[in-house]
């Protein structure tokens, strides 16, 4: 399984902070996972439409759409950071 996390504005828009997806070719990269999530429509299609910036990490390291994702990994999606 792949653990998926959502933070801040994304978490609120999607109404969930975490879920699990089976490891498969459709979850082999963050880009592939986004493709899968968009098919759910509604807020999922909106959040990942590309209108708002979405950053991602794999196993808590900054990643991009093509970073490899394998079984047991943790993938997170979040807006640009605003700490400090």
């Amino acid at each position: 399984m792949i653990r998926i996390l959502y933070f801040a504005r994304l978490r609120e828009q999607l109404g969930t902070g975490a879920e699990e997806l089976p490891a498969s070719p459709e979850s082999a990269t963050p880009g592939a996972i986004i493709g899968q999530l968009k098919q759910r429509g509604g807020p999922w299609a909106e959040v990942f439409a590309g209108d708002q910036p979405v950053l991602m990490s794999v196993n808590q390291e900054v990643a991009d759409l093509d970073t490899p994702v394998t079984d047991g990994d943790e993938v997170a999606f979040f807006p640009p950071v605003t700490g400090g």
Binding site: F7, A8, P53, S57, P79, V81, T82
Partner: protein
Amino acid sequence: MDQITIQTTPFDIAAIQEEMRAGDPAIGALVTFVGQMRDFNDGDPVSAMTLEHYPGMTEKALQKILDQANRRWELLGIRVVHRVGELKPLDPIVLVAVASAHRGEAFRACEFVIDYLKTRAPFWKKERTPDGERWVDARVSDDEAEARWRDS
């Protein structure tokens, strides 16, 4: 000697400075940056703020920033404390303290760490205004502040 703390409770600025300063007679300079919550942002009064973070990734991202600072300058200790959860105006949000033998390195490393923290560490602010709650947008000026360090 470096330390990263994420906490919901307030922190004691003077106690942290004293702990760092008193620990090592080789220290000739201690520079501290404290970021505190403003009661105004983007033209609106702000009465409270909630800070969210990504536990685990936050500590890793901050450790990487401290490693970079230690490679770049001769330092004798870095301390980062960042609050999460509910905050009110005047509450300190973040502290970055850097000790070194001389002030130049401590000043530069302190600014470097806070500039990178602002653009690299996974924290998100949500503020309460008279019109309701809103997520704070990332600032271009923060990206520019970080970019300066890449050419210098």
